[in-house]
């Protein structure tokens, strides 16, 4: 379905458009969560508001938004529906790889223009049977012959795979390449078939529909990114993932705190002249939320300092700091929502009150396991054998 393409001039500011989408996402978030279904209404609205291509540079027809501006959009949506926001963040992480690495390749530049015109939803296939979540290793390999490629992958997770318009797939560079010598390939709807292998009946993030598939694809060899995946992973995926995920979790946590505050204010109005029991905890949780916000913003500042410098983006110090951002924000989000539940009490625990935070709590529990924090800590502990933490306050 092609989305009508108005000129950029008549588009409202991105944050305003996202607030309109957030209203729709919020209206359906309960049903999406209960049924474990794809948030079609909200994703349709994202496409209609032309929010899929905001990061695409203006020279390719996009709006050229920065990572910080995009993170803000994820936070707005995260306050309405965790699943929809995570889908949007995952899409933008893929878009950031295209933006960072696709500009010099005619096929990928053309694909970015198509992304603007058609408002594609991009998915990712990194996880693989036999490898798990270790995205820097692949078993499957891309085969190239006569300018065409074929690629099959036992992709044990492709979030919203059935609903995507294109999938960015990691694989070994060639059948004789080592497992860490990887490429990334853009496969468009029509280039691939998906055979479902596993379902997605989960505790939280139920709307991301992160099912497993056997992916079989073929296409033009030009669809393979010219750069090795190691560069893409280090220079765009790592920072975009941890910053945009952090922005989503911040949004979820912020909404839980807003509900806790509304609860305390309602209690205060009923008992004028005295502090309600949850008021002290509210002050405490707001401090935690502010701390989480500082972590995300500091991550963006660190990224912007390294941006456009491949050496800085590929450095161990940078990788360690992005890893730490993920650890901190994932843990903080869960603590904050748990705290909000203590404040809201039974009203928060129940699923049908204005103060309910059950969905928030279940959604943020995914944060510690989407790329397991243990895997990230183990990676960082390895980096710290040689890299030293930058002790300056402003770097």
């Amino acid at each position: 379905m092609a989305v009508p393409s108005p000129t950029i001039e008549i588009l409202r500011p991105p944050a305003e458009r996202m607030r309109s989408v957030a209203e729709i996402a919020a209206r359906h978030s309960g049903d999406v969560d209960r049924e474990g279904r794809f948030p079609q209404e909200a994703v349709d609205a994202l496409k209609a508001e032309r929010l899929m291509s905001v990061m695409v540079p203006k020279r390719f027809g996009g709006e050229g938004l920065s990572l910080l501006e995009t993170a803000e959009l994820c936070t707005i949506l995260g306050q309405a529906c965790g699943s929809t926001a995570m889908i949007y963040a995952m899409h933008q992480i893929k878009a950031s790889s295209l933006v960072s690495h696709g500009g010099s390749s005619p096929w990928h530049a053309g694909f970015m223009r198509d992304l603007v015109d058609e408002q594609y939803l991009l998915a990712s296939a990194t996880t693989e049977g036999g490898i798990g979540g270790d995205l820097r290793n692949s078993i499957c390999a891309v085969h190239v012959a006569d300018g065409r490629f074929t690629l099959e992958k036992d992709a044990t997770v492709i979030s919203y795979g059935l609903y995507a318009d294109a999938i960015l797939v990691t694989c070994r560079r060639a059948p004789d390449a080592q497992s860490s010598d990887q490429s990334m390939v853009v496969v468009k709807r029509g280039d691939y078939t998906l055979d479902k292998t596993t379902g997605w009946d989960t505790l939280g993030m139920r709307g991301t529909c992160s099912e497993g598939f056997r992916l079989v694809s073929a296409g033009d060899a030009a669809q393979i990114f010219p750069q090795p995946f190691s560069e893409i992973a280090a220079q765009s995926m790592l920072s975009a993932s941890h910053i945009l995920w952090g922005a989503v979790w911040f949004g979820i946590a912020a909404d839980a705190v807003a509900r806790a505050q509304a609860y305390v204010r309602a209690a205060a109005r009923k008992q004028p002249g005295s502090l309600p029991p949850g008021a002290l905890r509210l002050a405490e949780v707001v401090a935690m939320l502010q701390d989480m916000k500082a972590s995300v913003v500091a991550g963006v500042v660190r990224y912007e300092a390294a941006m456009n410098r491949p050496d800085a983006l590929s450095s161990m110090g940078f990788a360690a700091e992005m890893n730490n951002l993920k650890i901190t924000t994932s843990q903080r989000a869960a603590q904050i929502v748990t705290h909000a539940m203590l404040i809201t009490g039974l009203s928060g625990y129940k699923n049908d009150t204005p103060f309910s935070v059950g969905r928030h709590l279940r959604d943020v529990t995914s944060a510690a396991i989407m790329i397991s924090n243990d895997r990230i800590l183990s990676n960082t502990s390895n980096l710290l054998l040689v890299s030293r933490f930058d002790t300056s306050l402003v770097n």
């Binding site: 080592q178 860490s180 050496d311 161990m316 390895n382 040689v386």
Partner: protein
């Protein structure tokens, strides 16, 4: 110095292929150098040459080939003299 680097690569099984099949400019990451192995390898190099890699050298490029490693170590040893 390149021979000592090669010997370390072989001893520590840093890459997935026989070190003799690699030229000085071969891409070690393509030869199977993983991020975990690269750090273990750096520690071995620091020990072997009695050096410490500064933060600015801790990038993929520094360890991309035997030639690149040789250049970095030469620079560090030069700084010490």
């Amino acid at each position: 110095m390149r021979d000592r680097i090669r010997k370390l690569i072989a001893e520590r099984k840093v890459v997935a292929v026989d070190v003799d099949t690699l030229s000085d400019t071969s891409d070690l990451y393509e030869a199977g150098l993983s991020s975990f192995a690269s750090i273990q390898f750096m520690l071995a190099l620091e020990d072997e040459f009695d050096i410490e890699f500064p933060e600015r050298m801790l990038t993929r490029k520094t360890f991309a080939s035997i030639e690149a490693i040789d250049r970095s170590i030469a620079e560090l040893i030069g700084e010490q003299v």
